[in-house]
Symmetry: C2
Subunit: 147 residues, 2 copies
């Protein structure tokens, strides 16, 4: 049944079996999707990875494999790690901004201590501002890549 082949079987010039592992995730109308994962992982590795995953999670696995493969094609040096590194930098910049505003609030707090005692709304502001800047890097694996 040549006309019903999925993108993977079409790419590999073979019949597409009814239980094809690729068929639900690599439709014939999107050959580029399979071409990406094929270039980076090789078709048989993709098939093996999908086989090891419960069927109800395979769509998401195929999607993320495709995204990572596309990243690696777009950026052969850094791939997805380049994106993670850039996000890490953005988070660090946000931490710096938060630290600045904390410093200024603390400075102002010292100056307006007397008013704080008289103004309940200012107390709320200052207590909340002291909770800012606690943007912890909550994934020790990634943190170790950059430290």
């Amino acid at each position: 049944m040549i006309s019903g082949r999925c993108a993977a079987c079409k790419n590999q010039r073979r019949k597409c079996p009814s239980d094809c592992i690729f068929s639900p995730y690599f439709p014939a109308n999107d050959p580029q999707r399979f071409a990406c994962v094929h270039k980076i992982y090789g078709g048989s590795n993709v098939g093996k990875m999908l086989q090891e995953i419960p069927p109800y999670l395979r769509q998401e696995a195929a999607d993320t494999l495709y995204l990572e493969a596309k990243c690696r094609i777009d950026d052969p040096i850094y791939g997805c790690v380049g994106i993670i590194s850039s996000l890490y930098e953005q988070i660090q910049n946000a931490e710096i901004e938060l630290a600045k505003i904390q410093t200024q609030i603390a400075f102002y707090k010292l100056q307006t201590q007397q008013q704080v005692e008289a103004e309940p709304n200012m107390e709320v502001l200052l207590s909340q501002s002291s909770n800012m800047g606690q943007f912890e890097w909550d994934n020790p694996t990634i943190a170790s890549w950059f430290n």
Copy 2:
């Protein structure tokens, strides 16, 4: 020269040529590093990817391929995309926190308008606070994954 084989040639049970593409990036004393990329990409795909990159960038490419492979082994469904998704969530939470403090500062600003006019330091604080919360998602590719 069996004893001098790199991790890749040792894994593939072959001689390690003097110009081996793997040798500088997959030393014999870290067989796990090659095992990871081999499992995910296949050895020959890794060799091909390294070949396509200028020599001075190959170390970084090998490092990021290893990190991505390790991520995929640790998380076969989401791999590195899982980390990116989690960072995206952290950034969104930080944006919410920034919006909260902005709202409270604005609220306070209204209440203390008269004092602002008399206190130059408060002006600095309030002008800087209005620049917060501009944590823009600066990579349209990733943004499109989640929107």
